[in-house]
């Protein structure tokens, strides 16, 4: 396998991975059409393509999987159904499915959840010994997790939310000071997070042409700063964090399927 470095003329990014830069790379093309009936305060489904950059315009840019979030509002509160697929090297797939019941509040605070995880091997056969179901709940302000009959209390107290719910939080955020603990992937506790608004001047420089320059950022323990870019319908169309991008893309699941097949066939090689 020959080593492949950047091609001659491949430019370094030399700046934040912004909508403007991503559009120039061809990785971001603005906001997809708004589905009929989509209401960021009501029911919606959003699918993101997960994509990575390696500091240059062309070298080693790659898809990594997808994230689909279905949000419903009903009498019980907010419910989120999540599908998260990460494609590892040689086509090993890591799938995560989550169902989260949340309070209908500004943080979409999780109340009860269920998480199912799994892996395939490099020939795409499921590995039952690597599948797991985990349940969590908030009881009298205390957070518990149960897995294979083992129940324990998490070192976590409200206010908290999950990263998958945070998309909804950002879409409804009115700019007020909001601090919370992040329960990332419903498994990792990351304290001391808050949201902020990027300055209008900088946002205008970073936004793609014709795009609304509205950016919310998240800073906190154990994450790199995340930027959430919103469209005219207040949808998060793009999330970036250092070298990683989640971009709204109706074809993300199909792209992930193709990526997995290519990796298993040995058609995609990355060297560093």
């Amino acid at each position: 396998m020959p080593h492949k470095g950047p091609e001659p003329g491949d430019r370094a990014v030399d700046g934040l991975l912004s909508p403007r830069v991503l559009a120039e790379m061809g990785a971001f093309s603005g906001s997809p059409a708004l589905p009929a009936g989509c209401d960021v305060a009501g029911d919606w489904s959003q699918t993101y393509r997960i994509w990575g950059n390696s500091g240059r315009f062309r070298f080693q840019n790659k898809d990594m999987g997808y994230l689909r979030i279905d949000r419903r509002r009903d009498g019980e509160g907010l419910t989120f159904q999540v599908d998260h697929v990460l494609v590892n090297a040689d086509g090993i797939e890591n799938t995560v499915k989550a169902g989260i019941l949340c309070r209908d509040d500004e943080l979409a605070s999780p109340v009860r959840w269920r998480l199912e995880t799994g892996f395939t091997d490099a020939s795409r056969c499921p590995r039952p010994e690597l599948s797991l179901t985990l349940e969590g709940s908030v009881e009298d302000g205390r957070v518990f997790e149960t897995c294979r009959g083992s129940r324990r209390e998490l070192d976590l107290s409200p206010p908290f939310t999950a990263d998958w719910c945070l998309v909804d939080v950002v879409q409804r955020w009115a700019g007020q000071r909001i601090e919370f603990t992040l329960l990332e992937g419903l498994t990792k506790v990351k304290a001391g997070h808050h949201l902020g608004s990027m300055g209008a001047g900088l946002a205008a420089k970073l936004a793609a042409d014709g795009m609304r320059p509205r950016c919310v950022y998240e800073i906190g323990h154990a994450i790199l700063p995340r930027q959430y870019w919103l469209d005219d319908a207040d949808r998060v169309v793009l999330m970036t964090s250092n070298s990683v991008m989640y971009v709204l893309d109706d074809e993300a699941m199909q792209r992930t399927e193709e990526l997995t097949v290519d990796l298993i066939r040995g058609g995609v090689h990355y060297e560093y």
């Binding site: 080593h3 370094a12 990014v13 030399d14 700046g15 934040l16 991975l17 997960i50 990575g52 950059n53 390696s54 500091g55 240059r56 080693q60 990594m64 999987g65 990460l86 494609v87 590892n88 090297a89 040689d90 086509g91 090993i92 890591n94 995560v96 995880t117 799994g118 892996f119 091997d121 490099a122 010994e129 690597l130 797991l132 294979r148 083992s150 992937g185 498994t187 990792k188 506790v189 990351k190 902020g196 990027m198 900088l202 420089k205 970073l206 950022y217 800073i219 323990h221 154990a222 994450i223 790199l224 700063p225 930027q227 964090s241 250092n242 070298s243 990683v244 990355y270 060297e271 560093y272």
Partner: protein, 434 residues
């Protein structure tokens, strides 16, 4: 309790030794590693064999120096005559060692690591996403494990290596700081930030042009770099914390020997260096914590004994009562861990630049030499642990210099250098002036 423990080897990528909050760094918060430190022994004089991914990893998995394994740079294979740990375990036991995450000897990420069952392969240079799969696969593995015999599991994280990408987006960003609220809370620059002494030419060359483009605010950008690095460390710490919790929940912590280390360190603005591939302690030292709650002493900090990435292979073999392959250079840390028996070791060695650069660290001094540069460096590590005063030209330290040249000569004479190592990287020990 099993008489032979299960073994969980956790390795991060490019983690500076002083990035664990339990040891006093107040700019980073690492509850996962703090938890492990409370339950084990932390080695504070722990060195990798080579501050670069592939060579250092080749040593962890063989107990041999990179110039012996033939992995004298990134992207080389270990020569076939030398077994890796997975192959060695599979040869001598009925256990199937499992592996998750980054390999890089040779392919960075692969589903096919010799000797191991790869349960997840991670995503190249994307620890931010790929490390989630490493933790998930390892958590699923330990919670489901029911084989009635000890397991060996390697959890090989990519973070905080992604800091290498940080500069692409932040060091050359001409639009200024995107988050002004952070400016008042950036960590200070290290004591050794300003280069102060004579160095080999390749060190000066490496430093040139690698800093921020905004020279007027260069120090702020460097501080922002260190701030960003700490967030990378916290990310992998959160992954490790979750994995450790899973081991505990599965009832395995008292049956499991947990070894945590990193392949190599990170410049972290010391000497105005970032990333790795130089021989100062920032890159050459690595965190190492070994824990077996209820069996080994807990909450212990080993500050005197010099240990090496070479020592993990023989330590693991010792706990599983396996023979050692020929010519392993490391030593088992078992007796030191269990009752404090001191190692019979005068120094540890670190290679770099294909092996053309060598460092010898003894109890009091660190000596650095290159076979293609006349500049030597000698530091008194008790008085100057930040390596800011090169004593190689000092008559007062002439004896120490001679002694350490002698150590280097002795060390090189004992190496079985791989045939694939190019001539330009090889030393002629007989020509070292003692």
């Amino acid at each position: 309790m099993n008489t032979e423990p299960s073994i969980l080897l956790i390795v991060t990528d490019q983690q500076h030794i002083d990035t664990i909050s339990a040891f006093g760094n107040r700019h980073v918060s690492t509850p996962g590693l703090d938890w492990l430190a409370e339950r084990g022994t932390a080695f504070r004089q722990s060195y990798c064999t080579y501050p670069l991914c592939s060579p250092a990893r080749s040593s962890i998995f063989t107990g041999r120096m990179p110039s012996e394994t033939g992995v004298f740079g990134n992207g080389n294979n270990v020569r076939t005559a030398i077994p890796n740990l997975g192959q060695w375990i599979a040869r001598h036991t009925d256990r199937e060692p499992a592996y998750s995450g980054k390999w890089h000897v040779r392919e960075p990420h692969t589903a096919f690591v010799p000797g191991f069952d790869v349960i997840a392969s991670g995503i190249n240079c994307k620890g931010q996403e790929g490390d989630k799969s490493v933790t998930q696969s390892c958590e699923d593995y330990v919670r489901n494990y029911d084989e009635g015999k000890p397991f060996f599991l390697a959890a090989m994280y990519t973070q905080p290596h992604d800091i290498g990408l940080w500069t692409s987006y932040n060091f050359r960003n001409r639009l200024g700081f995107p988050y002004p609220e952070l400016l008042d809370d950036l960590p200070p620059l290290p004591e050794s930030f300003e280069p102060t002494h004579e160095e080999p030419a390749r060190y000066r060359k490496r430093r040139s042009g690698s800093g921020p483009v905004d020279q007027e605010r260069a120090e702020a950008y460097w501080r922002y770099y260190v701030w960003g690095y700490y967030r990378h460390v916290e990310m992998v710490d959160a992954e490790i914390g979750r994995l450790l919790q899973a081991v505990e929940d599965a009832g395995g912590s008292e049956d499991t020997l947990i070894i945590f280390t990193s392949d190599h360190g990170e410049g972290m603005a010391e000497h105005q260096f970032r990333t790795k591939h130089f021989l100062y302690d920032a890159a050459a030292k690595v965190p190492l914590i070994i824990s077996w709650p209820g069996v080994l002493p807990e909450g212990r900090e080993e500050t005197g004994e010099l240990v090496s990435g070479l020592d993990l292979f023989p330590t693991i073999c010792d706990y599983w009562d396996l023979p050692l392959p020929e010519n392993v250079k490391g030593v088992s840390l078992r007796a030191l861990l269990e009752d404090g028996t001191r190692l019979d070791r005068k120094y540890v060695a670190v290679e770099c630049h294909g092996g053309s650069g060598q460092a010898i660290r003894s109890a009091d001094y660190k000596y650095i030499a290159h076979n293609d540069d006349p500049v030597e460096m000698l530091f008194n590590m008790r008085e100057d642990p930040a390596e800011t005063r090169n004593l190689a030209g000092s008559t007062e330290h002439a004896d120490a210099l001679r002694t350490h040249r002698g150590y280097l000569k002795e060390w090189l004479e004992g190496l079985e250098v791989a045939p694939s190592v190019p001539d330009k990287y090889r030393w002629s020990p007989s020509r070292i002036s003692v």
